[in-house]
């Protein structure tokens, strides 16, 4: 089968409107998570069908049961409360940072929510096991499960004056997440997942968030950071999460924001400053965006020897234009100058519907982008097999 250039997705798929309506009802407390989830089953089947038809090798469930890639954990864990920026602002002192973010995103404080640690974190239900089990029953493809990374979870949910009621400090909260994620990964592996992707998009915000004066996204706004310390902290958390785990591919996904089709509102800068930390991370693959200029040149990896696998972003999930397969082929061939062809996976830069209510694309365009990506992979396989 397809040994070289496996194709996959980063995670989310645009939700159907009828799913969004049910999501609102769930958020308002009118239906339970289980009631919502049973409606979401069909949305998952649709997302699976699109990926299978496009010929994707390793598929996800399109994150149809999640409101976004990280705050959905509030449904899964006790001790987390989905708080609006408005609620958070009642607690923090540096309110002006939130105000900047709200103005940058042009949203009211009541509209943006983030899971905040308000009590001891305990599993109410598994984080993604239900997603995996449903998916397992409905596809023969390999399964990828994206999970929010331990650093992003910690950063998003630690609001100093609130979270201190439950945890001594941010490190103690992080340790809890590491424990929960390890447990989850083990169960997902045992249940049949072949690829676990830890989403850590805010790593670029640490490096480029300040300079660009752009706030990244809700997951990143809730704490101030010292870049070096934060990157070390993130790396350490990732390594503690994956330590000693085997029998499943472990990846880390990093991007520069995926909440808007205005490219200028997203972060910009190459991977250079992150490479030393990437090298420290004991994971199998780095899933990186490369389809836009904003991500910088692949050449920053020129002097990096014996690197792990690269999940290479080859299509932009935020454009209406579908890339052609030749563009994708030449992007991959550029990567081959710095990476072993056996280590290169093809994927979009990010999900097509990171935030349920503001997907960056339509299903039909997303489908075409996957198709062309598969076509490029076939060409490459023919050439490099």
């Amino acid at each position: 089968m397809a040994d070289l250039f496996p194709t996959t997705v980063v995670g989310s798929w645009p939700r159907p409107s009828w799913l969004l309506a049910e999501l609102k009802r769930k958020n308002r407390g009118e239906i339970s998570y289980d009631e919502f989830s049973s409606v979401a089953d069909e949305a998952v089947l649709l997302a699976v069908k699109y990926q299978e038809d496009a010929g994707i090798d390793i598929i996800t469930d399109g994150e149809q049961r999640r409101d976004n890639f990280y705050s959905f954990v509030a449904d899964k864990l006790d001790g987390l409360k989905l708080m609006t920026v408005a609620e958070v602002m009642d607690y923090v002192e540096d309110k002006s940072r939130y105000e900047q973010m709200l103005r940058a995103l042009d949203v009211p404080a009541f509209a943006i929510k983030s899971p905040v640690a308000v009590g001891p974190i305990k599993k109410k239900r598994s984080i993604a096991l239900d997603e995996m089990q449903f998916l397992r029953r409905h596809t023969r493809k390999q399964i990828k499960i994206p999970l929010p990374g331990p650093y992003m979870l910690t950063r998003a949910s630690w609001i100093d004056p609130v979270s201190r009621y439950a945890y001594w400090d941010r490190e103690e909260l992080a340790t809890e997440y590491v424990r929960l994620l390890r447990e989850e990964i083990t169960q997902l592996r045992d249940g049949g997942a072949s690829f676990i992707q830890l989403d850590e998009p805010t790593l670029t915000e640490i490096v480029y968030g300040q300079a660009s004066k752009q706030t990244f996204m809700c997951a990143a706004i809730f704490s101030k950071v010292d870049p070096k310390e934060e990157l070390e902290f993130a790396t350490e958390l990732i390594n503690r999460t994956v330590k000693g785990l085997s029998g499943v591919k472990l990846g880390v996904h990093v991007c520069r924001g995926n909440w808007s089709r205005k490219e200028e509102s997203l972060l910009k800068g190459d991977y250079g400053p992150l490479i030393p930390y990437f090298q420290e991370m004991k994971v199998d693959q780095l899933v990186l965006e490369f389809a836009t200029q904003r991500a910088g040149e692949l050449s920053v990896f020129a002097d990096v020897s014996s690197f792990k696998e690269l999940g290479l972003g080859v299509v932009n999930p935020r454009t209406s234009e579908v890339e052609n397969s030749e563009q994708i082929v030449s992007k991959v061939e550029e990567a081959i100058r710095y990476f072993d062809p056996e280590k290169i996976y093809l994927n979009p830069d990010c999900g097509f519907g990171t935030f349920a209510e503001s997907p960056v694309n339509t299903s039909s365009t997303a489908f075409q982008k996957l198709e062309v990506m598969v076509k490029a992979a076939e060409k490459l396989r023919a050439k490099y097999a």
């Binding site: 408005a86 103005r103 949203v107 009211p108 404080a109 009541f110 509209a111």
Partner: protein, 176 residues
């Protein structure tokens, strides 16, 4: 029997109040006159007294204040935001429209701040323009929301204060 409420307002009480003001000229007259007192606390800080309430007014540190509170021009923006909030809720409630969430984001542009510091005589130090963006979450249709918003702008006390000329009557008293 529980009394009917909408948007956190008791409907009966609201009706009563409107009736009272409509029928009693002295009640309306009372609501036409408002008072405040601001006492200097040193530097650029002041303490405002309004009925039983009190709050601080300060300047940011880049204007030689100690930034313990908003400054005067920020209170003006907030007052407009507060006024539009109250007005919108009043008009929505009167029309039986439920509001789930509401927020007003304001940005004001001073004509020329240099005139305040005595560095220019071009233009003036007052606001030239104020943007007021209302975010609202409501089951009502967009047309209804737009109508309530228009009515709110038209009947806003602070909005009208700002968009019209207010006569300021100054007086100074040197106290021994």
């Amino acid at each position: 029997m529980a009394e009917a409420t909408l948007n956190g307002l008791n409907l009966e009480r609201l009706k009563e109040i409107v009736k009272e003001v409509a029928s009693q000229p002295e009640k309306a007259e009372e609501l036409n006159v408002w008072r405040a007192r601001v006492r200097w606390l040193g530097g650029f800080r002041g303490r405002a007294y309004v009925r039983d309430h009190t709050f601080i007014i300060d300047e940011p540190s880049d204007l030689a204040g100690v930034d313990t509170a908003p400054n005067a021009v920020e209170y003006v923006l907030s007052a407009l935001g507060g006024c539009l909030t109250v007005g919108f809720i009043l008009n929505a409630t009167k029309n039986n429209v439920k509001i789930d969430d509401l927020e007003v984001s304001l940005e004001g542009r001073i004509d020329n701040i240099l005139t305040f510091l005595g560095l220019s005589d071009q233009g003036h130090p007052g606001y030239r323009e104020i943007k007021a963006k209302l975010y609202v979450r409501s089951p009502a249709d967009p047309k209804t929301i737009q109508d309530i918003w228009s009515k709110t702008l038209e009947t806003s006390p602070v909005g009208n204060t700002l968009s019209r000329n207010v006569k300021i009557v100054p007086e100074v008293s040197v106290v021994d």
